[in-house]
Every structure is written in C-alpha cells, then in structure tokens.
C-alpha cells in the first residue's frame, strides 16, 4: 500500500517537472470548451436572429407575371431581386439560398380561378436555407389563404367552410431540453477528456519507462508489481480528476459567458454529479491504457492505438444519432453510452434515481476493476521489464 503512494507521488512529481506538457494538457481542453460554447452560442444566436428579422432578399423569376404577389412579399419584409440566369446553378453554387419561380401562365390561371403555380427552389440538404425557406413558405401560404378567403366571401360563402380541419402545434419540449439538443457534442467532449485525457501520462509511465529502461531497476526493488502499477494508475487518476475539475470549471464559465444558453444546469451540484459520472471512465481509461502500454513494445506502438481510442467514445453518439432510443437501464452498463445518457440527463436538469446511480457506478467500477486486474497480470510478465 505504502509503495503505491510512493510510486504515485514520484510519478506526479516527475510529471510536474515537465511544466510545458502539464500546462498544455491542463489548459487546452478548458480553453477550447469556453471558446466553443461561447463562440458557437453567439454565432448561432446571431445568425438565427438576423435570418429571422432582417429583410430577406429573394430572386424572383417571372416577377412581372404576379405584381400583387410581389407587392405582398415586399410588405412581408421579403425583397424581390432580379433572378440569375441559371437558377439551379446559383443554388448549387450557394450564391442564393432560395429562389422563387412564378409560372408564365400564373396570370391566366389566376384570372380563371385555377391554382396558379409558384415554385420555391432550394437545396434541402443545406442547413443555411432552412430559415429563409420557412419564411418564404409562410408568407406565400398567408397570401394564398387571404386571397382564398376573399374569393369565398365574394361568392357569399363563409371562409371557415374551406377549413375543415384546424391544425395547431403545441411544442412540449422544455427550454432546457432544447438547449441540450444543441449541445449534443458536450458529453463527448467530457467523456473524451476523462477517457484519454491522461493518456500520455499513462503511456509514459509504463511504455515510456520501459523504453527509457528505468522499469528494470524499479522492478528489482521489493515493491510489488501490482503496487507499482496501481501507483502509476493512481497518479494518472489524480491528474485526471484535477484536469476534469478544470474542465468543469471552464464549462461553468462558458455557460455563464455564453449568450442565451443559461438554461443548461451548471450548478455546483450538477458539476459534482458530472465528476462522479466521469470517475469510472477515468479509471476505465487509465487501466485500459496501462494494459495497452504494458503489452506493446514501444511508446510509438502504444500511441498508434490512440486514434482508435478517440473513436471509441463517439460510437454510442453515432448510434443514438441513427436510431434514437428510449432511455433504458441496460444502457447504463454500456461504456460511453452510459456516460452520454447520464451527462445529458444532468445537463438537462432531469432527475436521476438512486437505482440508476447505483447500477451505473457498480457496473462502471466493475469494468474498470477487471481492466485493472488484467493490467496487474500484464505487469507480472517477464517480458515487460526486459526491453533491451
């Protein structure tokens, strides 16, 4: 036990001497988070408000066929513009978000009381065109409804006859769940920093120590190999917790600075919950990395696993994107998926039951424990100490 703490202290001291590495690894993540949340938040909000309110310029093909409609557009804060030569090309080149085309026989159909064709040209795969298209659509529908109602009135019919069903939408999403939707990347960010945040420290402490050939004298001391390994894992965990606390502080700061996003739960209680959620991940990550570092021949080989490890936490997020499923208890046993669900719940301010907490922590720590055990077994291999 005592050797474990001796090793831990030495690893932390060794790391602390490497000041530049420590600073970069501790500060990069938090700075990135603040930048991302504040930057993205304000950009998104600015875009949203300008797209909703400012005069929308829409090229209109065949504006001369429908002067009344064009007038209506103008009154609804949409400025008709001269149309480009090739409408399809202009959309494809992203010069225009949306183009209106008024059919040449518009006036004829109009006069004869037949539906007159107005086309909205846009590219539905482009997020940017979503708001302009919705605006144009709403204005055209309003125009159609008004003229329709006037025509019915002129014929002595109640316009309500033409509206057998009245459709109304009631959005039941809470403001905080909307915010959560916009911040789907945040759990990934946190899980990632818990999972591989201390990676270089772990790799350095095992594969690096072996490569520098200092593992052999270390293993020739009476300290047990399990204690030496645990000390190294513990050091990485201490560093990891420290780095996570900084990360969460940055998180809090970011949402405090960010415009409009105040509905994410960033209370101290929520932050402590996040830390508790991420603790098993930290142990899981450092144990897994120790297993990898102890089984490979060099630091380089250990680092080649990093790209896979970076992808791993993303898989559940991808899965949820493709097929969003209802939260169920078994999900809390799947690494990464569990963290994702738990973090989302905390950020949305939804309650987590005692059963969920116990189940999550027990399973999470058990998985980490198994890896820790494997790592301890790896440390007993003869090959580990004898690198040269």
């Amino acid at each position: 036990m005592k050797s474990m703490f001796v090793v831990m202290n030495k690893e932390l001291l060794d790391l602390a001497r490497d000041r530049r590495t420590v600073l970069i690894s501790l500060l990069m993540g938090p700075l990135l988070i603040v930048g991302l949340v504040v930057g993205m938040g304000s950009v998104m909000q600015k875009k949203f408000s300008t797209q909703m309110q400012k005069t929308l310029e829409v090229p209109v093909i065949g504006a001369e066929h429908a002067p009344n409609l064009v007038d209506w557009l103008r009154r609804s804060n949409i400025e008709p513009m001269p149309a480009p030569e090739d409408a399809a090309a202009a959309i494809a080149a992203q010069d225009e978000d949306v183009i209106l085309r008024i059919a040449p026989d518009y006036a004829d159909n109009w006069r004869r009381g037949k539906p007159a064709l107005v086309e909205i040209l846009h590219d539905s795969t482009r997020d940017d065109s979503r708001i302009p298209v919705t605006r144009v659509m709403a204005v055209l529908q309003g125009y159609g409804q008004q003229v329709g109602a006037l025509r019915l009135l002129a014929r002595g019919i109640d316009p309500a006859v033409g509206m057998p069903v009245m459709v109304a939408q009631t959005d039941l999403s809470t403001p905080s769940s909307q915010v959560g939707q916009a911040l789907a990347f945040l759990p990934y960010f946190l899980i990632m920093s818990a999972f591989v945040g201390g990676a270089y420290l772990v790799i350095d402490a095992t594969a690096g120590e072996r490569e520098r050939q200092s593992l052999e004298p270390l293993l020739a001391t009476p300290a047990s190999r399990a204690a030496i390994m645990s000390g190294k894992i513990l050091a990485a965990c201490v560093f990891g917790v420290f780095s996570l606390v900084l990360m969460l502080a940055a998180f809090k700061l970011a949402f405090w600075l960010a415009p409009g996003n105040t509905r994410v739960d960033v209370s101290l209680l929520a932050m402590s919950k996040l830390l508790l959620i991420l603790a098993p991940t930290l142990l899981f990550g450092t144990s897994l990395l120790t297993v990898i570092s102890a089984s490979v021949k060099s630091v380089k080989e250990a680092q080649s696993y990093m790209s896979i490890l970076f992808l791993l936490p993303m898989l559940p997020t991808f899965y949820l994107l493709i097929s969003p499923v209802k939260n169920q208890l078994w999900m809390l046993a799947v690494p990464f998926l569990a963290q994702n669900q738990m973090i989302m719940k905390v950020l949305r301010g939804e309650p987590l039951g005692l059963q969920e907490w116990v189940f999550y922590l027990v399973v999470g720590l058990a998985i980490a424990g198994v890896l820790w055990f494997i790592a301890a077994r790896m440390y007993h291999k003869e090959r580990l100490a004898v690198s040269a």
Binding site: S3, V7, Q213, E216, P217, L219, S387
Partner: protein
C-alpha cells in the same frame, strides 16, 4: 551470500529457441568480490537477471542468504542491491530524489534516507551533482546515481551489471575503490564485466562464462593453476577458447 546451481534459461525468438544460459552454477561469498567474466552475449546479464528475480529460471536454483529466489522473490529483493545493465535514472528528478525514491520503495523512513544519501554522496564523490536534475548527466554521473540508488538500503548483497561500462579512467578507479569498500564492509559483491583487466584487478573469485555456461571458476591463483598458464590473461584465453572481446 549467493548460491547458484544448475541455472537454465531459454528464450523463444522468431528464428527458434535460444539457450541463453545452461547449467550455470557458482557461489559468491560475503566479504568477497565475485566477478562474472565473459564476452558479450555470453549470458552474464541473463544470469544476473535471474539472481535479482526479474526472470524465472527454467531450471536450477538461486539462493540469496539461504532464501530461494523463485519461491520468495520479494524477500530476496529486500536483501539485494541491484545495478542493472540499463541504468534507467529518472531524468526529471534530481540525483537526490532518484536515490530517495528507491529508499522509500524499500520502506525506509525519511531520516534514514537522508542520512544514507549524505553518506553515499560522500563515498561516491557526487556532492556537486546531488541536487541537479539528472538530465544532461555524464555517463559516470548517471552510473554513480544509479549505484547510490541501488544500495541506499544497505543490502547484504550487491549485484552490478557492467558497473564500469562507459566510464573514464578516473571514474573507473573511483568505482573500483568503492566496490572494495563494499567488500570490506562484509558485503557479498557480484559484478559482471567483459573486460579482463577489470576482473583481474578487483576480484577475489572469478567465474568465467562463455556461450551460456561456466567454463572455469576459482580464485585467480586457482585459475592459473587449472590452466597451467602463469599469466592470468593467457589463462582466460585458454578457458574461453578465443580472445574475442576480452580486452578493454
């Protein structure tokens, strides 16, 4: 006191099994310096690694002060001071911190560690480098640090793999003096070397290893008598069967 008998160790490599050590046996007594002499690749390092329990012998026994190294490796390591072939000094720690780290791993308290560091620093003449980070140390300074670290707990038995490797003449002389001092304190000192003059100058007993096996052993006088050569150098060449790699 270290007793070795019938040691065997084989390694599997891509090209087949390599028998690194076969039937190595010798005794190293307290208050003596025992030298393992042999050309590069003779199996000296592998033998030593089995002595300090880093490797398990395929066959044979190692007893350190009467304790079996395979059955009780932890107890054996307690009574050993080891300078492996790879010095592995932590470069971001100072020499003092390097030494203290191993003292703590041996379960020593801080006062004892401080006292030992002072004593070792004087004996190894490293006062001027004691509080410098070891990054940028010369080979000799690194070896001194590693040796101090290895014997911080005052072990009865000291095992040193090529302790004078890469050292200049002055440092080598100082190192020899230090090893004699360890012997005079009554410790059992084993060291390996591929340099004949080194072994001839220091050892009370010599174990000559070639191709993984012991080809001769005894005091320098016994070796001369066995081979019928008056000159120790000729005696070595005779038992090993070649002059390859024996001269420093």
């Amino acid at each position: 006191m270290i007793e070795v008998s019938g040691l065997h160790k084989a390694f599997k490599t891509r090209t087949g099994t390599v028998q690194a050590v076969k039937d190595v046996g010798f005794s190293a007594h307290d208050g003596q310096i025992t030298g393992l002499l042999g050309p590069n690749g003779a199996g000296k390092t592998t033998t030593l690694r089995m002595l300090y329990t880093l490797m398990r012998p395929d066959r044979g026994t190692v007893r350190v002060d009467g304790i079996d190294a395979v059955a009780q490796p932890d107890r054996v390591r307690r009574g050993l001071g080891v300078l492996p072939d790879a010095r592995g000094v932590y470069k971001r720690l100072t020499a003092r911190e390097n030494i203290a780290y191993f003292g703590r791993l041996h379960g020593m308290d801080e006062t004892t560690i401080a006292r030992r560091v002072t004593a070792l620093s004087q004996a190894l003449e490293m006062d001027d480098i004691l509080d410098r980070q070891t990054e940028g140390f010369s080979q000799g300074q690194r070896t001194k640090t590693a040796i101090a670290r290895a014997i911080v707990h005052e072990p009865r038995n000291v095992i040193l793999d090529e302790p004078t490797n890469g050292l200049d003449v002055m440092t080598t002389r100082a190192m020899r003096g230090f090893l004699r001092q360890l012997r005079d304190e009554g410790r059992c000192v084993i060291f390996s070397s591929h340099i004949m003059q080194e072994v001839a100058a220091l050892c009370d007993r010599i174990v000559v290893i070639a191709q993984g096996t012991v080809v001769a052993q005894g005091t320098p006088d016994e070796l001369r008598a066995q081979t019928g050569e008056q000159n120790l150098e000729d005696a070595f060449v005779r038992v090993i069967g070649s002059e390859e790699g024996l001269f420093g």
